[in-house]
């Protein structure tokens, strides 16, 4: 395995149960666990479809598959769980996992309601388990590098931020419903919300708009834009969309103007590979998996050596609060103060 992925083997391997076998698990978590097999031992994978669970288990050499997530939480030979189920199930599973004493890597958003998010974090604190909410931009190479540049003062104090996250409809049934996914604002924009808070500090107030553009959703907005005003008096424009047409490549853009300079990074211009095959062009930067590996490594370091990861659970709660403020603003058509969102 590549040098950057190699870690020292400590006490023993962290025994993991993977709860969920959807896109992010197959694309990111299982491959990353395989890369980090010196730190993790995957015991079991769950999907509510047993066939799907078995396929994932076969593909990634996981010894067991199940369609009963509670059986994973109850297992004494599991130290930690990765929860990557639909957003609306996060709270129930995470709370039970915490009470069972499992460390948790929880996909974003932490939950769909603020009180659920608070409950998850408090339960983890009470149980003394580690909760890493997978705001993966905090591990994403260009986003990490941008933060380093900001912290080193390269562009002075940040003043104006722009961030896009533009994609097709993710295509799962639960994304179609607001009550299951939170819509594109809570599911997708939350990445850039969390990242901009990491860079700029707390948000003071927001204004947002949301739309249903395609017929793909039932009541979830599939396009959302927001203006954020930070306590530092910086401002940000964030846009997240599931409304782009078929064939559109997943696009991220980040720009930060500061008192002494400007930086921009655009994934449309930073791809290192393009493959033309069967009439389709596929562009990528192959190291994209690295972010998930780094995220899991941080999780392992936290569990094994108590090294704090770059995201505190309460920050994930904060990101959810801002996302909910954007939704509230778009419903009221008014500027919403974050302190008023409870």
């Amino acid at each position: 395995m590549d040098e950057i992925f190699r870690c020292d083997v400590l006490a023993g391997k962290i025994r993991v149960g993977v709860i969920g076998a959807g896109f992010i698990v197959k694309f990111a978590h299982l491959p990353s666990l395989k890369i980090l097999s010196s730190r993790f031992e995957v015991k079991v994978v769950f999907s509510k479809s047993i066939e799907n669970a078995k396929i994932a288990a076969l593909e990634y050499s996981v010894p067991e598959a199940t369609d009963d997530w509670r059986s994973i939480v109850r297992r004494s030979d599991v130290d930690a769980v990765i929860i990557a189920t639909p957003n609306y199930t996060h709270k129930t599973i995470a709370v039970e996992a915490a009470r069972a004493g499992k460390h948790i890597l929880l996909e974003k958003p932490v939950a769909l309601r603020l009180k659920d998010a608070v409950e998850i974090v408090k339960e983890c604190e009470k149980a003394g388990v580690k909760l890493l909410v997978a705001h993966c931009l905090r591990f994403w190479p260009e986003y990490v590098k941008v933060r380093e540049l900001i912290l080193s003062g390269t562009i002075g104090e940040p003043r104006v931020v722009r961030a896009y996250r533009l994609s097709l409809f993710p295509g799962k049934m639960w994304h179609k419903f607001m009550e299951f996914s939170g819509g594109v604002t809570v599911d997708l924009m939350i990445h850039d919300i969390d990242y901009s808070i990491w860079i700029l500090g707390d948000v003071e107030e927001v204004y947002g708009v949301k739309l249903r553009v395609t017929g793909n959703t039932v009541d979830s907005p599939d396009h959302s834009a927001a203006l954020l005003k930070f306590k530092s008096s910086a401002i940000a424009y964030l846009e997240a969309s599931w409304a782009f047409p078929r064939g559109y490549p997943f696009t991220t853009y980040l720009e930060i103007a500061g008192s002494k300079g400007l930086l921009t990074v655009d994934n449309r211009t930073t791809q290192t590979i393009t493959i033309y095959r069967n009439g389709v062009a596929e562009s990528t930067a192959p190291l994209e998996i690295r972010a998930y590996v780094e995220q899991l490594k941080a999780f392992a370091e936290w569990i094994d050596r108590d090294v704090k990861p770059p995201i505190d659970p309460w920050e994930a709660v904060k990101a959810l609060q801002v996302a909910l403020a954007v939704l509230e603003s778009s419903e009221k058509n008014a500027v919403v103060k974050i302190s008023e969102v409870v």
Binding site: R159, L166, G208, L211, V213, G261, L262
Partner: protein, 335 residues
């Protein structure tokens, strides 16, 4: 163009005037126009540009220019707040005017300009040069294919222009007054829809010494419910490789269009550093030629005084929104 128009350039305060004068000189060389006169209230600048462009007559006194007349069309590129005081008397004397954007800094000034042109039956065109840029014009030709338009995200970034642009009285504001109107006009042009409502945030200034805002972002709605955003910030540093951008992405029911109008550049590194050298369309030339053709054929300008007024409404609604911290309807400007 069969007629040889006598052109007066009124003020070189706005840097675009130099490009307009360059076009006029090109057209003069082709026998299509004559640079009849230059007026400027800054006598040092007047001397400099007169030497550069060699008009037939030179005026430091606007009234004398008006008295002596002998011009057919005027290009007004003064400070924003002075547009009205030059444009009205020119229009009143039957002189067609191409005025730099924004049309004016106050609604009542813009309205008076529109009414005067209409009453006198002369052309008032606003220098919405993006209507003459090949790429942004191409969007107009293709946008129908998207069907219903849901969302338009746009930026018109630039470098801080300093000089009078940062004088609240002469400029009428900062980055919002300077940069919102180009893309606001494109949004109206593309959709055929009017603006309904605007919310704007401005942050702490990039240049703390300025008395005007140097950054702002607008988020709002058109009358048909489509959402739009405009980032008008002067956020490009002095040493950025190009002056700024005009960018849009438009989402419709049947697809999306991306516009990056000033993306045609050659990357150049020399002893002074790194920069982009633009090789895209000469929109200024297209615009001035069309203006003369509109006058010649007595047609409607591609970007009229009304278009200038509508774009100014967005600017003024944005300022009101910042003062009152709430979304502002365009109609509120008239109550």
């Amino acid at each position: 163009m069969s007629r040889v128009f006598r052109v007066v350039m009124v003020s070189f305060a706005h840097m675009h005037a130099y490009s307009y004068a360059r076009v006029v000189k090109e057209l003069e060389a082709e026998g299509k126009v004559v640079l009849e006169a230059i007026y400027d209230d800054n006598l040092e600048r007047l001397r400099r540009v007169s030497e550069l462009y060699k008009p037939k007559r030179v005026y430091g006194d606007f009234n004398r220019l008006l008295e002596e007349g002998g011009v057919d069309v005027a290009i007004v590129a003064s400070e924003n707040a002075k547009h009205v005081k030059y444009t009205i008397p020119l229009l009143d004397r039957g002189i067609h005017v191409l005025v730099e954007k924004p049309i004016a800094t106050r609604l009542e000034d813009a309205e008076l300009m529109v009414k005067t042109a209409s009453r006198r039956g002369v052309k008032l065109q606003v220098a919405f040069v993006m209507r003459y840029h090949d790429a942004s014009h191409y969007v107009l030709m293709r946008i129908r294919e998207l069907g219903k338009i849901y969302s338009i995200t746009s930026t018109n970034h630039g470098k801080c222009p300093f000089e009078w642009f940062i004088d609240p009285e002469l400029a009428g504001g900062g980055a919002i007054m300077d940069h919102v109107v180009h893309v606001a006009d494109l949004i109206r042009w593309y959709t055929g829809e009017e603006f309904e409502e605007v919310l704007a945030f401005t942050g702490r200034n990039i240049y703390p010494e300025l008395r005007v805002e140097d950054n702002a972002i607008l988020l709002g709605r058109l009358r048909n419910g489509a959402v739009f955003s405009i980032d008008c910030s002067w956020s490009r540093p002095v040493n950025w490789p190009t002056w700024g951008d005009v960018y849009m992405h438009i989402i419709g029911e049947r697809g999306a269009i991306f516009l990056n109008a000033f993306n045609q550049n050659i990357s150049v590194a020399d002893e002074k550093g790194f920069k982009w050298v633009y090789y895209g369309p000469d929109a200024d030339r297209n615009m001035i030629e069309d203006f003369l053709s509109v006058v010649e054929r007595d047609e409607k300008p591609r970007a009229s005084g009304i278009d200038g007024l509508r774009a100014l409404e967005v600017v003024l609604a944005a300022y009101k929104s910042i003062r009152e911290k709430r979304p502002v309807k365009i109609l509120e400007l008239y109550t």
